[in-house]
Symmetry: C2
Amino acid sequence: MAASPLAGVKALGFDVFGTVVDWRSSIIREGEALGRAKGLDVSWEAFTDAWRALYQPGLDKVRTGAMPWTRLDDLHRMSLDRLLVDFEIRGLSDSEIDHLNRVWHRLDPWPDSVPGLTRLRKKYVLATLSNGNVALMVNMAKRAGLPWDAILGAEPARHYKPQPEAYLRTADFLGLRPEECMLVAAHNSDLAAAARVGFHTAFVRRPTEYGPTQTRDLRAEQAWDVVAESMVDLAAKLGC
Amino acid sequence: MAASPLAGVKALGFDVFGTVVDWRSSIIREGEALGRAKGLDVSWEAFTDAWRALYQPGLDKVRTGAMPWTRLDDLHRMSLDRLLVDFEIRGLSDSEIDHLNRVWHRLDPWPDSVPGLTRLRKKYVLATLSNGNVALMVNMAKRAGLPWDAILGAEPARHYKPQPEAYLRTADFLGLRPEECMLVAAHNSDLAAAARVGFHTAFVRRPTEYGPTQTRDLRAEQAWDVVAESMVDLAAKLGC
């Protein structure tokens, strides 16, 4: 009997926003607390969705070369400065704005993430393969207890996903060939880009990442190597 | 009373070879086992010291631009290929030579390293700030249980210590200013280079790193911020 094609996988690279952490609920919750403290009348659902809507256009400026390399913290801040005007949020000091911008460092994991990663880590090297910058990922991991072996992805690779270099340079940092790596993500487009450069793929379904009316990424749209309902389910399906 | 100048330190960057792990004993031990298995008549002390003696000259070729960026695994292999001739080590297969080259991934920590790092990690971000490449550091940490928050240093910075970029880019990846970082090292020259770019400094004494007749780095040669006898002593001196 032939060995499983997954038998050669040595490292798992993780998309983080949405796949490992619940960015939307975390930011809404912190925004609501800020609103109460500062007497702000803001829809934090709308604010959070608007912030995330500026994410891909910001990355695109870097991907196309319209902007030089810019880390995600700084792209988030450029978007936030605009949203403070659009949502008429006034009266925040510079340090309060900086603190709000770093809410992305304080996102809570989905409840299954830490237990699932802890199991997966016994068998695989676990690395972030996120567009988030290193400081963001380190601070998030420290607060949330995410047991990464390495913080890699866009910033060390100097390319934002889904550019091929983001995946290939992550594999190269780990001293591995692409087929020895698997991307774990809740987003079909991310998995498609990883598969194109030779990575294995695991889809983890996160049907409320974008809130209760989510329409995208509700299911695996291609024949990914593994399809899981949670990080714990992924651990079980990978024999951990 | 003024706050301690160390109160602002948020991250510790660690030299690894010699400071955290005992490369010399580890390589001698594995070499002796290989020698017995293969019937080789080699002084593994001399072999290990010769391998390490080729380390700085190899790094210098990259530092000076005589060679393009080359990761330490590949520099180690170039040195090893030469030593196999010099020490008349014959009869190893390609995969056996590759495995021997990766002995640097399998170095044992000093006995105090894991307990000390575990205490330090509660208060500080702990990052490697080594000339070792990412894969080497990740594999070493996984095997030895070294609790790093991030694998940084020469390869992500694309500069070998003591070049200033190695320290400055590590701080930058962490989103910190140099004065928010402290280098922990058993080598006075490494600490001097870090101090020149604004890092705080901690010397950990490792008087047998180079064997029982070591003459270098037996004591702190400048007024480093902290001087410690072990990683556990460092944790105590930093209030962890």
